[in-house]
Symmetry: C2
Subunit: 319 residues, 2 copies
């Protein structure tokens, strides 16, 4: 029997999704459990393992399993640990990969979710032929994975790729990391919502968003407003793109990538993100890097991207 099925697991603050992926990146079966149902990590792992096994069994894929890849917040590739993840109930350092290995006889690898997304882009997506690229996930926060010389940059301790926590403004917006002015407080679904709230409070720009209760305001509503030409929403997108482009110009100066992939909820507001980021980036770049760096949408299908990314961890060791 060919061992060609890698299971990808994406652990999120609310849900954990997992699926069986073949070598071409087809997700043959998938399922999910609620992360928040398990305050105890041992019980979570018991349930997750049982569910993965029955999913494989139900599709006759058990014998073809070659490994399990896991994407998790604050995941450490070298140690297979999840460390002090602020959005998970499991505190401290969790030896997650080791605990999973008690249930499976195949390699279990773990990394953080943005690194997993970058691996997915390399193995199954738009970066197959690229050795140097950056992938940015624009969700609740801003995650990033850097490829250099054909390898994912894990850094000395396994935690590299935190572009979301580079500093835009030293005394800027408060970040969940405890510091101020981090990129993700400006450029993320949460960040653009803050920007709109600030514009509502400090300008007189007319906007339909002024009628929206603060607690209901989100990036989706801002996108919808921008689509019907709402000046304030458009200004908020413009500001978001400018800040992102500025910090991307720093990232290009350091790593000189062939392309930067933008991925995640906020990147779905395509017409208000890709062109402006590209334009501002060209303006900010050091001359030798101009007209060289592509700004691209992820080529992974949005609905299975996290599973594909996590499963790519296993393809990477096989290559």
């Amino acid at each position: 029997m060919k061992k060609d099925i890698a299971v990808g697991v994406d652990i999120g603050g609310t849900n954990t999704v997992f699926g069986a992926v073949d070598e071409s990146g087809n997700c043959l079966a998938k399922s999910a459990i609620k992360t928040t149902d398990f305050p105890d990590v041992a019980q979570f792992i018991d349930c997750l393992s049982t569910e993965i096994k029955s999913l494989l069994e139900s599709k006759g894929l058990t014998e073809r399993l070659c490994g399990i890849g896991i994407g998790a917040p604050n995941g450490n590739f070298y140690k297979g640990t999840i460390e002090y993840a602020p959005n998970l109930a499991w505190k401290g350092v969790i030896n997650f990969a080791d605990l999973m290995k008690n249930h499976f006889d195949v390699p279990v690898l773990l990394t953080n979710d943005a690194n997993a997304a970058a691996l997915g882009e390399k193995i199954y997506g738009g970066a197959k032929e690229m050795n140097d690229f950056i992938l940015i996930t624009l969700g609740t926060g801003l995650g990033s994975g850097f490829y250099s010389n054909g390898n994912l940059v894990y850094g000395h301790d396994g935690f590299a790729g935190e572009l979301g926590h580079t500093i835009v403004l030293q005394e800027g917006r408060k970040c969940n990391c405890g510091r101020k002015g981090c990129l993700e407080t400006y450029v993320s679904a949460t960040g653009i919502t803050k920007t709109v709230n600030e514009l509502i409070a400090h300008t007189k720009i007319p906007s339909t968003l002024r009628d929206c209760p603060t607690e209901e305001l989100n990036s989706k509503k801002i996108y919808e407003a921008a689509q019907i030409n709402d000046s304030l929403a458009i200004k908020a997108f413009d500001y978001t793109c400018r800040v992102l482009a500025l910090k991307l110009s720093d990232a290009v100066a350091i790593t000189s990538p062939e392309a930067i992939f933008l991925f995640g909820g906020l990147a779905q507001a395509k017409e208000f993100i890709f062109e402006p980021v590209k334009e501002y980036l060209e303006e900010y770049l050091l001359p030798i890097f101009r007209n060289k760096v592509k700004i691209l949408p992820s080529q992974l299908p949005e609905n299975n991207a996290a599973i594909l990314g996590a499963s790519a961890l296993i393809r990477n060791i096989k290559g």
Copy 2:
């Protein structure tokens, strides 16, 4: 005869130094020519080749030559070119490595000077056992070389590692690159001199440096003033370290290195650089990176560092 001698060539705006280096990093012979004597690059290469050959001949090393490594401003590793170097008389794109190969029957490799310094640190210096580190050269400008996964980060086009051109302040100091606010306009021998001039103009802090004619002020004099407790000089060093630490905290967030090596003229003001940079860096770092990153002086001998770095290009392909 063992082929164990690599020639290292360091092309500077004023002088070009070159030497024969053995496998342990001993410089067995060296010499120099004046770069500025040769407005024509063909004549420069003729002269350089002749001088290298006679240097090797005079020490009986000709038969032991295994390759020539060259460090040059705006040097491109992939193409072996020097491209639009602002401080050299040779304009446009120069196929430097190819032109040298007409004179020698061994590999000729070229990269930029800061990358060469990082290679030198890896092959002969303090980074022998490190796979992830950053080397910063603090001279007239600020150069940098990044190691990741045991390899130098060249990027897609061969020009990666331009930390000196990441942005500190969008409408900040004018940079030679045509933009504003680049790190090297604050953190370099030139940068600290500008800082002192600004402090003289805009503060009343007493200083012996106020008696120094503007055109004679330089980083060496600022260092000497700091050593005798000059408040303004000390303030200038403090500001320089703070700005450097801020941008290093960004670089750590992206690449998570084991160590950052500081090298070059300004780094010789050790007591005013290493401790403060370390302190500010710890303050600025994302919590997961705190107490992990070493700030170290280069372990290469200052007088031969550039030659060793360039020669390391050849050791790197052999390894």
